[in-house]
Each structure stands twice: as C-alpha cells, then as structure tokens.
C-alpha cells in the first residue's frame, strides 16, 4: 500500500535567466514500511525533495500525496499539524534546541502535541539504543557531533511518526555507530511500520535500503 506519492512535482526558484530547476517533474511512489534511500550529487535536489515531502516547502507545481491526503494543497496551519503528527525529520545539521537537554529535545515533539502522552519508557529505550542515555541531561553544546546526531534521530523517532525523513543521518558518525543507527532505524521501521526516506552519500548504506532513488539535476534518474 502506498503511503507516499509524488506526482509531477516541480520546484523552481527565480525567474527567466535566473531560473533554477531544483526539481523538474519528479514522480514516484513509496509503499508503507519501505526504507528508501535517495542518492545524488550535491545540488541535485535531494534535500529539496525531502523538504517538500516534509511540508517545509511548497512545490511550484505537482502533487504530494501522503496517506491519501494531498498535502501540497494544505494551508500552512494544516501542514504544520500534519507534519507534527505524521512526519519525523532528521536534519543534516541536527537542529536541536540549544536551550534544552538531550532528553527534553527528544520529548519536545510529543510535548507540543496535546493529543499525545509522553511515553517516557519509549524515550528511554531510544536513548539507550542510540547509546546516549548517560548524556540525557546534557545540553547540545556539551555533546560531540555524533552524539548530537543521535539525539536528533531519537527526536525524530519519539512521536512514532508514519514517515521519517532523514537528511544524512549518519554523516557525522563513525562506522560502528553508523551501523548501530542504521540497525535502529530499520528495526523502528519494522516495529512501527514506519516508512523511512533517507538522503545519503554513502553507497553502502544506500545499498542496505529496500530501494534507491537516484536524482540528477532535479530529475529521478533511476529507481521509482
């Protein structure tokens, strides 16, 4: 069953001579529970695609349908609500709240959603699995890059979203931790029937995913 359908999506910036086609008529579908890797060179449009799927940006044209709902037509308010309940985002630069400790950063998405109760056991499990339980009271600036990345991953998993969008989630991790994180992401995928869409430069990691989508110059080169 499809959870995500991208239909003729275009994302253009600028006009006339300054026109930049970040995405140019992209179409594909992703099934529920799939672990998909998006690969491509720098500037190919991978992050742009991820931002569109996550509702952080709007396509110039085309449709983005998640769980049967066309989110590209949502108002910003509805998009925000949809994102809060259904999307978990792992940013390239971690995007942690510098004012909150690790634990509170992870609990933050749940705390701002009044319809959900904070599952502290689950948070503990994620943090332990990611190897940062002992760092739970530390502030982000007190952590290494890898630890911050793991915190960002934990936050994305905390409210058990339907789709997890990960932009280079293992970029700053050592090989051992990378494997652990990938294992965690896959297990979470399976356990909670989460769909994982991961942008990566690492061919090995991409190869371990269920499907690879390759983007070149804003178009899907292969994989669909």
């Amino acid at each position: 069953m499809e959870i995500l359908e991208i239909r003729n999506v275009k994302k253009y910036y600028g006009k006339n001579d300054n026109l930049v086609k970040a995405l140019d008529d992209v179409s594909f579908k992703i099934g529920k529970g799939e672990f998909v890797a998006i690969v491509g060179q720098s500037g190919s449009g991978k992050s742009t695609l991820l931002n569109l799927i996550g509702g952080l940006d709007k396509p110039t044209s085309g449709s983005i349908i998640i769980n049967g709902k066309e989110i590209s037509g949502f108002s910003p308010k509805k998009q925000t609500e949809f994102r809060r309940k259904n999307i978990g985002f792992i940013f390239q630069n971690y995007s942690l709240m510098p004012e909150l400790c690790v634990y509170d950063n992870v609990a933050l998405p749940v705390s701002i959603d009044r319809s959900q109760k904070t599952d502290h056991e689950y948070i503990k499990r994620i943090l332990t699995d990611l190897g940062i339980w002992e760092k739970r009271k530390k502030l982000p600036h007190q952590l290494s890059g890898g630890q911050q990345q793991r915190t960002a991953i934990a936050r994305a998993l905390a409210n058990k979203p339907a789709i997890i969008l990960a932009d280079e989630p293992t970029g700053n991790l050592d090989s051992g931790t990378t494997m652990d994180v990938m294992e965690l992401l896959k297990n979470s995928c399976k356990e909670y029937s989460q769909t994982m869409i991961m942008v990566t430069h690492n061919d090995m990691l991409a190869a371990s995913c269920d499907r690879i989508l390759s983007i070149l110059d804003g178009k899907i080169e292969r994989g669909y």
Binding site: N51, G54, L56, D57, P76, K77, T80, E81, R83, R84, K85, I87, F89, F91, N93, S95, L96, M97, P98, E99, L100, C101, Y103, D104, A107, L108, P109, S111, I112, D113, K117, T118, H120, R136, K137, K138, L139, H141, R155
Partner: protein, 889 residues
C-alpha cells in the same frame, strides 16, 4: 588600512535595521538633550534680563568719595578686570526722621537711575532745589500724599513732590532714598558708585583684582546678588568652595549643601541635565550592544585572522562616529525646532522666575502684578551646551567602544561562534514533570544568560522609571504651587476684601455686609475670616530656634525693623523664664477649616469638635529647609494666649507691655499643628510671628469679636468685570475697607502652573518615545536572536497558535519583571526625591505618592508595547521560510 573603514561600513550596510535604530537613538537622544538645554538656557537668559530690569544692571556698588570715583573711572579696562559701566549717585544730604528712619537725598542722572533700576514712574525728575522725587512707601512712611505738586516735609524742610520713583530693588532697612536735583547743596563728598564688570570673564576674579588695584576692601562692596547668581557660571572650583564652606559650618548639613547648590549652581538644571544625558547614553549603548551581539561571529572571524583588539575598537568607533556625524546635527535641528514650537511656554520651570505678584511696601494698595508676556520670550541656542553635549557623547562613545572591544577580546573564538553561550544549568529534565515544555522553553530563552536578562529589564524599565518620577514631581509641584498661591501669595480667592491697618481691631466688615457680598450678582461663595492679635508665652526650653527672631537671636549685626519695634515691641520678647511671641489669631469658617487640612503636620481638624472643646490650631515655625521642629508644642499641649480686651482701642496696647487689666489671658489645647495659614494679615505682624486658628464662633465667644477682617470672595465662572465694582458699592464711603481683585493674577498664576506642567509632561512624552523605541528594539532583538530555535519548533510542528501563545507568555513575563524593577526603584526614588522636594525645594504640601491609576496606566502601556512588539515580530517569524531560518544557526 582601508579595511578598517570598509568593514564597519559593510556591517552598517548589512544590518540596515540596526543601523537605523542606532541612528534614531542618537537623533532622539541628542534632540531631547538639545531641546531641554536650549529651553533652560533661554529661560536663564530671559530670567537674567528680567532681573537686570528689576534689580538693576550692575553687579556691585560701593560707597566712596570723589577720589575713589576718579580712581575707578580712570582705569576701567586692564588685563585683570574690565568695567563695562561705572555710574555714580551723588549723596547730597541725609535727614533723620524722628529716630525711626532716615532719608538720603541724592542726585542720579538717568543713566545711573537705569543702572540702579530705580527710576521715575510718574511726574518728572526734580529740577529745582525745592523739588523732590520719592517712592510710594517712603511717602506713606512720611504720611505724605502722592499727588504730584503736593508738599512733602522732611524734618524742617519742605519740598514739592515732582515725581514718584519705583520701589528700590533692595530693601535698605532704616534708610530710604529720595532724589533731588543736581544743584542741591552738597553736604558730603560721598557717592554710591555702581559697577558693572565684563560678564564674559570670571566675575569673582575681576572683583578681587579690581579691589586690589583700587585699594578697596572687598567687604565694602555691596553685591547685586540676584544678578550675580545669574551671570556667574557654575564651575568646579565654585563647587569645591561651596562643599568646603558647608563642611566647615557646624550647623550645616547635606540638605544645606543641596540648597546652596540649588541657589548658587543651578542644581535643578544640573540634575535634569545629568539624568537626561545618562539616560540618552544608556539607550545608545543598549541599542548599539544589541547590534554588536548580532555580529559576534563576524568579530570571531576577524579575531581568527589576527585583527587586534585596538583595531576592533577603532572599527566600532568609526561606525558610531559616522552615525554621530549624521545624527547629531539632525538631532540638534529637531531639538531646536521642538523648543521653538512646544517648550517656550514652559521655560518658567527652569527660570525660577519669582512670583508674578509684586507686593508694594505700602500694603494698603492694591496688589500690583506683572503679567507674563509670551511675546517677550526670546529663544536662544546655547552653543557651549551643544558643543559640550557633542564632546560628552564623543567621549562616552570612546568608553563604550573600549568596553565592548574588551568584552569581545575576553571571549574566546569558540565563545563568539556560540555567541549565546548558555550558562551551565543544573542538570535537570523538565519533561518528566511537565507535559508542555513550552513554558520551560520560555524561561530558558529569558533566563539562560542572567546578565543579559537583567540588562534587558533595566534598559526597558529605565525610561518608565523616569516617566513615573516625572509624574511624581509634576503632581507634587502642582499641589505645592496651588498651596503657595493660596497661603503665601494671597491668591486663595478671586477677590479679597480686607480692613486697613490703621483701623482698630474692632472695626471691620459686619455680618450684614458679608451677607450682602455673598448674595451679590456674580459671586458664588464667600469665606469670612476674623482677626485678632495676641501674644503667647513659650517656656524657654520649648523654643529650639531662638535665631528665628532678631530680638532674641543675640546677633549684633541683625536688627529688628524699627516699625515692628515701635508698633509691637518686637515679635519675640525675652522674659525671665519664657519668651513672649506675638501671634496672629485667625477665625475661620467651616469651609476654610476644611481646606486647611492639606497643611496639617500633626493632629486633625474637626470644626465641630473645636467649637465644643474650644480647641485651637497652631501654625508652627518652619525653617528654610522645611523643618518644623523649632517649637516644641504639639497636639494636646496647652497654650496661654494673651489678647487686648475687646473694648480697649489703644494701639499702644498692641505692644503687650501695658497694665494687666487691659489684657485678658486664656488657655487653649492644641488640636492640630499646620505649616501654613490660608490667609496672612500683612497689616500687623504678617508671617513674622506665630498663628493660632480657631472658628469664627470661638472668636465671638472667647473675645466678643463680631466683625470680619477679611472676606475671601469667589466669583462665578460666568461673572464679568463689573463684579468688583458692584462689591465696591457695598462698601462705598467706607475708607477703611480695601478691595483686591486677584482674578487676573490667579488666572496668570494658573497659566504659569499649567505651562510648567506642560513642559514637565512634554519631557515625559519625549522620554516615553525613546523608552518605547528602546523596548521595541530590544524585544525584537531578543526574539530575533532565537530565530533558529523558533525554526526548529516550527519544523517539529508547533502550531501557529501555540507559537504566538508562547511569545505572548514571554512578553508577559518581561512585563512583570520590568514592572517589579520599576516598583522597587520607585519606592526608593520617590522617598529620596520626596525628601529633596520638601527640604531642598521647600515644598509645603504633604508629599503625595504617585497614584495607583498612573502606575497602572504605565504598566498597562508597557504590557501593550511588549505584546504588540512580540505579536508583530512573531508574525514576521511565522512568515519566514523555515529552511532559511534553520540555516541561521
């Protein structure tokens, strides 16, 4: 080297909003300083000219012979002093008038008379040797008429009155002046030599040099103190001299120092200027700091590539001075314009101009008053103040840049990269106990760096503290002015009807006449006052201030007035075991007693209780510092009051040294002590003695008095000018009754009070504008600095409502914190300022705290500003692109 200029300009170009904020803060601050300083300067100059007109255009005068005059006139301009004008009044003769006073006959040409400010106001200057010109008071003392051409007898000589001169600027004790013609025979080789020095040079230095050159004792020089006070510049040496003098005076205290600084060095001007400059610099610093904090990363890069601290300091200075070069002239222009348009009318506040009311010495005449002529106000720009302001700001900028560059230098590169380094917090997980983290997040946003939070709160509260303090001063100034108007200037009513002093005390305004006045057309109400003169005996240990009266002060150089000694045997008389103090006894009606409550120091006033228990109110002694502990008589104490028996019409008995059977003695209990009386009968002892106040019913019951001495008459708002003449009809043929129409004077005084208030509140509005500007800028920056964190929240999925709610809570917390700082500061400030108003500026009212209503308005206003700023900035944040914001980390 080019980079040192390029970098600051590129910073300014990149942060346009902050650059404009700094520029605006400079313009507004300079504008405010210039507006107030030009207004103060204009007031000062206008006041100086006014005093020159009233007190004479000379700084000193000296008594000397023709040789002295020649030696002075021969050398008026040398390197040590410059005499701009020297004029002499030739003293011809002196006539002793039966031991009471003497009259000096003198000749002064028109130039000299102008310099003395003692000139002919009607008639002509004497031309022949039998002509004389005198002032009205002297004519009154001589029992002579004022008609030109009438005879005036001086001893065994008789003159013809050719002209009337203005009152002499200074009271001359027992000596009065009369002008005669130049040809009048000389009995002396004596001159009053009037001296005017160059006011652009140090006056004291010139005087010392002059005295040395002309071999004159400086003690012999009589100063025109009021004019000298205006033209002497305050300088540091003078300040030191005053401090030293106060320190050496055993009886002086800190209040004495402040009073001297107020009168001799324009303390008010100094305080106002100081706080305005301080506030302005703080605002500029606050806004500039905000701008700097946004580019810490840029400075870290500069540090990384090896730019030294002194070069960073130089770059900061270039930036600020560039803005000052633009902002200062614009601010000056705005300030001068604002002064010309809005502040001219309020210059009285800083001129300290004397009351409009000029009482003549004759007392029996109608009040003379000078109406403030707005068209005569001339505007001046104080160039030295502008230069001083520019120099001060320029110097403070150096200090600012020095401090900021030191701060940058102190931080490591890493710290600057992480410019919002959060204090190490106690390791705590908030989500375990709090479902919503947004409140905790707010607290972390606000309090994570406590010093920054404090700086924000102080900068936001400073403007509001000044505004509330200004309101405090304005309210108390208004009450004080009104009370002074009523109690000291005799302007408590539109019309005053009183009995001439030459009449016995049992002659007065009858009840029937009072009723006729009350029912006259155009009259809304009448307050009737009775009067008697008495004497109270005060035990010696109860009177702390013997130095209050020359009769008992024991100071050989301070003599009581001959008239007082002649009529009353002095105000205070020393007996073996007590002092006998002359006392006005006033009878008030109930409504006046009610009004007197504003002047209570101790006790309470209840008219019915006074009538029942025969209690009285004592107006006690008040000194120059508004202290009231000179007489140790208070509520519940007994007073023994001696009065002349009602049927005794002998004026000699008012000396209270006649036979005992001519007097009666009664004892009273003090119900209340006040610091002033509503009326002041100047026909007898005036304010020189004490006052006892009782009800009119008590006056009748205790002393059989059934006539009124003063009627205070209040006109209807619709009444016209014919009201006073109609009142005159009631008393026509009654030469002992005088009618004073105060309405014009009251109107002018009220306008004066309103002008002062307008000025005070005008300054408050300016401060409010600057304070609001600072609040908006600071809050915008605070929120702006959290854009990255807000972007994360938005990316995670916070709803717009929750986001705005979070910001609103933050705004409210800032409001509450600011309000707390304001309240705490105000409690201390109002106490200090209240003491200053009472003891240094002599305010006679009970100091009122700022009303709760005003506080609520200010606090609500702060809350509204915070909320609006937060709402607008929040909307801007919500409209921004989340992805771009996430890249701002």
């Amino acid at each position: 080297m080019r980079m040192i200029f390029l970098i600051p300009f590129s910073f300014m170009k990149k942060n346009v909003r902050q650059t404009i904020s700094i520029l605006l803060s400079i313009i507004l601050s300079v504008g405010m300083i210039v507006a107030v300083s030009c207004m103060m300067y204009s007031a000062h100059v206008n006041k100086t000219e006014s005093i020159r007109e009233q007190k004479g255009d000379h700084h000193y005068f000296i008594l000397g012979s023709s040789d002295t005059l020649k030696s002075i006139s021969d050398d008026t301009d040398n390197s040590d002093f410059t005499l701009q004008n020297v004029k002499a009044m030739k003293i011809k003769d002196s006539v002793d008038i039966t031991g009471d006073f003497n009259i000096v006959l003198a000749f002064a040409d028109s130039e000299c008379r102008k310099m003395m400010s003692h000139d002919i106001i009607s008639g002509t200057y004497p031309v022949t040797t039998d002509e004389i010109a005198l002032d009205r008071y002297t004519l009154h003392l001589l029992n002579a008429g004022e008609e030109i051409g009438s005879s005036v007898s001086l001893g065994d000589k008789t003159f013809i009155l050719s002209g009337i001169v203005s009152e002499p600027p200074e009271k001359t004790g027992t000596t009065r002046e009369a002008f005669v013609c130049e040809g009048y025979p000389d009995s002396y080789d004596l001159y009053n030599i009037y001296l005017k020095f160059d006011e652009d040079k140090d006056l004291y230095k010139q005087v010392v040099a002059f005295a040395e050159k002309c071999q004159i004792d400086t003690e012999a020089l009589h100063s025109n103190g009021d004019l000298i006070d205006c033209v002497i510049d305050g300088n540091f040496q003078r300040f030191i001299n005053i401090v030293r003098a106060v320190h050496e005076d055993e009886e002086a205290n800190f209040i004495t120092l402040l009073m001297r600084l107020r009168s001799e060095m324009h303390l008010t001007t100094g305080i106002v200027s100081f706080f305005l400059v301080l506030f302005s610099i703080f605002i500029i610093y606050s806004i500039f700091s905000v701008s700097i904090s946004k580019r810490m990363k840029e400075y870290s890069i500069l540090q990384t590539i090896g730019v030294s601290r002194s070069m960073i300091c130089l770059m900061l200075m270039i930036e600020l001075y560039s803005l000052l070069l633009i902002g200062f002239p614009v601010g000056c222009g705005l300030g001068i314009l604002a002064d010309k348009l809005f502040f001219r009318q309020g210059s009285d506040l800083f001129s300290g101009r004397a009351s409009l009311i000029e009482r003549t010495h004759s007392g029996a005449e109608n009040l003379q008053y000078t109406v403030y002529d707005d068209s005569q106000y001339r505007f001046f720009v104080d160039g030295s103040a502008l230069f001083g302001c520019a120099l001060l700001i320029a110097v403070l900028i150096i200090g600012m840049c020095f401090i900021i560059s030191a701060r940058i230098n102190k931080m490591t590169v890493k710290d600057m990269m992480n410019s919002d380094k959060i204090r190490e917090h106690k390791e705590k997980i908030y989500s375990l106990k709090n479902k919503s983290l947004l409140n905790k997040l707010n607290d972390r946003f606000m309090f994570a760096v406590p010093s920054k939070f404090l700086m924000i709160i102080i900068s936001m509260s400073l403007g509001c503290i000044l505004i509330i303090s200004i309101n405090f001063i304005a309210v108390n100034t208004r009450i004080n002015n009104m009370m002074i108007m009523h109690s000291q200037e005799g302007l408590s009513s539109d019309v005053k009807i009183s009995v001439s002093k030459d009449e016995p005390l049992d002659i007065g305004i009858t009840a029937e006449q009072a009723e006729m006045v009350g029912t006259s057309e155009g009259i809304s109400s009448v307050s009737a006052f009775m009067y008697d003169l008495g004497e109270i005996s005060v035990n010696k240990d109860l009177l702390k201030w013997k130095e209050f009266w020359p009769e008992i002060a024991g100071d050989e150089t301070w003599k009581p007035s001959p008239e007082t000694m002649k009529r009353f045997n002095g105000i205070a008389v020393e007996d073996t075991d007590c002092y006998r103090i002359k006392t006005n006894i006033y009878g008030y009606d109930d409504s006046s007693l009610d009004e007197l409550k504003d002047y209570i120091i101790e006790g309470s006033i209840d008219a019915q209780s006074m009538k029942n228990e025969n209690g009285i109110i004592l107006r006690t002694l008040i000194d120059a510092q508004n202290n009231d502990d000179g007489l140790d008589i208070g509520v519940g104490d007994r007073i023994v009051l001696k009065t002349v028996r009602y049927n005794e019409n002998n004026k000699e008995l008012l000396r209270f040294d006649g036979a005992d059977e001519k007097y009666e003695v009664k004892e009273y209990v003090v119900d209340a002590v006040v610091n002033a009386s509503l009326i002041n009968n100047t026909e007898y002892i005036g304010k020189e003695g004490l006052d006892i106040i009782m009800t009119n019913e008590q006056m009748k019951k205790n002393y059989g008095i059934d006539v009124y001495n003063v009627l205070a008459v209040y006109k209807n708002s619709e009444s016209d000018n014919t009201v006073v003449s109609k009142l005159g009809d009631i008393f026509s043929g009654d030469d002992n009754i005088k009618i004073y129409d105060n309405s014009v004077a009251i109107e002018e005084r009220n306008k004066e009070i309103k002008r002062a208030e307008s000025l005070i509140y005008g300054i408050a509005v300016l401060l409010m504008i600057i304070a609001v500007f600072n609040i908006i800028n600071t809050i915008s920056h605070v929120l702006d600095s959290k854009r990255y964190s807000f972007a994360v929240l938005r990316a995670i999925g916070i709803s717009e409502n929750n986001f705005m709610k979070m910001l609103f809570v933050q705004a409210m917390k800032y409001t509450v914190s600011t309000v707390a700082v304001i309240i705490a500061s105000e409690l201390a400030i109002q106490r200090i300022v209240g003491n200053m108003l009472k003891h240094v500026y002599g305010y006679i009212n009970q100091i009122q705290n700022v009303s709760l209503f005003v506080n609520i308005i200010v606090f609500a206003f702060i809350g509204i500003i915070f909320t609006l700023t937060v709402t607008v900035t929040g909307k801007q944040i919500l409209d921004s692109d989340i992805i771009d914001e996430l890249k701002t980390e």
